[in-house]
């Protein structure tokens, strides 16, 4: 990736983190940590690697993005708002009655959201269905699915991984947000996923591993997945929960969902009073 493009994407990611924090900050609390950890990936998909068009959000030929860890909704909404899928003002309505932006991703409420998620473990199967539909219709769109590490303790994830691997779904790329934290603590202490690389390889997946906050590395992985014709690709993204917001990162496990003060978000976003 050339330097200018990388710089552009890095700046976008910072901007999108600010939108995420403002959105949750205005509400007062929410799923900060897991939204922030996937923003570099979403920035690359929506601003560089993906075939997406905010003016035609239901284009049958578009790439699909399934956020199976549905509680990262605010992170996705920030990217969508920034791309112009809906007016930026709507971020002020997160989780308020009648909003188009509910806590967990909802394809029937938010323009640009491709699949509803929130009950963990289900989105990857849906992403497989989208990839199979692409094969039936001989379309060349790609499906990107983001699963959580804690979410991967759900059995359905492994049913889906086994099927994706065996079906050699080369139009599906799976990203696991490996921040090693879940609500009750560290994944390693609760029910460890390691060795994750070996598990994915054993499921016949083209397994890649990247720093989930290095946009150039993420983009390389996406291109490697596009180039891989005989396998479905799974990208393990080593991430930091709450990345890019020091007072979120510091909270570690406590960054999953927490209260943000008005002073905190206004300072971070550089926004004076309305």
């Amino acid at each position: 990736m050339d330097k200018d493009k990388l710089l552009f994407l890095q700046n976008k990611a910072i901007e999108i983190r600010k939108i995420t924090i403002e959105m949750i900050g205005r509400l007062g609390s929410g799923h900060v940590g897991g939204s922030l950890s996937i923003i570099d990936l979403l920035t690359d998909i929506y601003y560089n690697a993906g075939k997406v068009d905010p003016k035609n959000p239901s284009d049958p030929d578009r790439d699909r993005v399934v956020i199976s860890k549905g509680h990262a909704g605010p992170g996705l909404y920030a990217v969508l708002a920034s791309k112009g899928y809906f007016p930026m003002d709507e971020i002020k309505t997160l989780n308020k009655g009648g909003t188009h932006l509910p806590s967990h991703c909802d394809m029937n409420k938010t323009v640009g959201v491709d699949m509803t998620a929130g009950s963990l473990g289900q989105g990857l199967s849906c992403a497989i269905g989208m990839a199979l539909a692409g094969k039936i219709d001989k379309k060349d769109y790609r499906v990107y699915c983001v699963i959580g590490d804690g979410e991967s303790q759900e059995g359905q994830i492994w049913e889906a991984l086994m099927y994706a691997g065996n079906m050699k779904l080369n139009n599906l790329t799976i990203f696991i947000d490996y921040n090693r934290m879940q609500i009750d603590g560290y994944t390693d202490e609760i029910n460890s996923l390691d060795p994750l690389d070996d598990k994915f390889r054993a499921f016949n997946l083209n397994t890649l591993r990247v720093n989930g906050h290095d946009i150039a590395a993420i983009d390389d992985a996406i291109n490697a997945a596009k180039a891989c014709k005989d396998k479905c690709t799974a990208v393990i993204m080593d991430t930091i929960k709450g990345y890019g917001v020091p007072w979120a990162e510091e909270r570690k496990v406590g960054s999953h969902s927490f209260a943000i003060t008005e002073q905190q978000w206004r300072e971070f976003c550089g926004k004076e009073a309305d």
């Binding site: 049958p60 699909r64 399934v66 394809m107 029937n108 491709d114 699949m115 509803t116 998620a117 929130g118 009950s119 473990g121 289900q122 989105g123 990857l124 199967s125 849906c126 992403a127 497989i128 269905g129 989208m130 990839a131 199979l132 539909a133 692409g134 094969k135 039936i136 219709d137 059995g155 359905q156 049913e159 889906a160 086994m162 099927y163």
Partner: protein
Amino acid sequence: MQDVKEMRQVYCDCLLDMAKENKNIVVIEADLMNCIKTERFKAQYPERFFNVGIAEANMVGVAAGLSTCGKVPFISSFGPFATRRCYDQIFISVAYSKQNVKIVGTDPGISAEVNGGTHMPFEDMGIMRLIPECVCVEPTDAAMLKSLMPQIAAYKGLVYIRLFRKKTEKVFEDGENFDLFKARSIKEGKDVTIIASGIMVSRAIEAAEILKGEGIDAGVLNTYTWKPMDKEAVTAAAKRSGAIVVAENHNICGGLTSAITEVVCANCPVPVLSVGVNDKFGEVGKMPYLSNVYNMNVSDIAERCKQVISLKK
């Protein structure tokens, strides 16, 4: 009299017929293709057939994903595994997401026979009925299945089809038409109406014949679609006969009895009694044995009719 064709044959015939015109119909199985006999679909439309293996939750999610791209997936398993086993996936990935998936649960109630309690669904319609906007239908015989399948495929949304898998009792003439959202009155009666579904319909007809010999005028109403319930037909039956017996191959708690009493209580309160499974688990056995165990015989229906008539004011 038994139908000539097995219900599963008719099901696959219909899928093949519809798939010719409707390129969006896809079939997904979870290792029971050999039981529902969709091999013929696989042979004819291999690119539109998927077998995910023994993974019902994944089957439901894959169906939901296909639906988001305009496909119309028909998925199946034995009743308990098509519903109870993957309930949250059906609830969230399909129903809450407003996806267009058709779920077939086979071997309803005591027809699971020797597979026994683990495979014998007495609760499938009850739990599916709790999912908002889910259409729940139990086709009575081959003629009805054939008439309903195109309507099920054309309906946009989740439909649960409770399917007797083999040869069932023939109740209706070939070529008869049925409306997915209406009940079918088989016989009107002024003393009592037996409201029945599935295997209990032919038994209800027999019970009405016996009662006729005893001077009791019993009607039979087949509410094959449990949700949405044909309220007009049920209310009319309650008004006409002033007493109802519900006959179902399902737990009466949450089943057809619940669906009927919801309508009767609100529109025309009359006494309602039931023939069905009274909060019990399944067990192994052939249908005649199991009919005795759960008191689901023709004589049980006739007896209940007399009891409910005695409750009339």
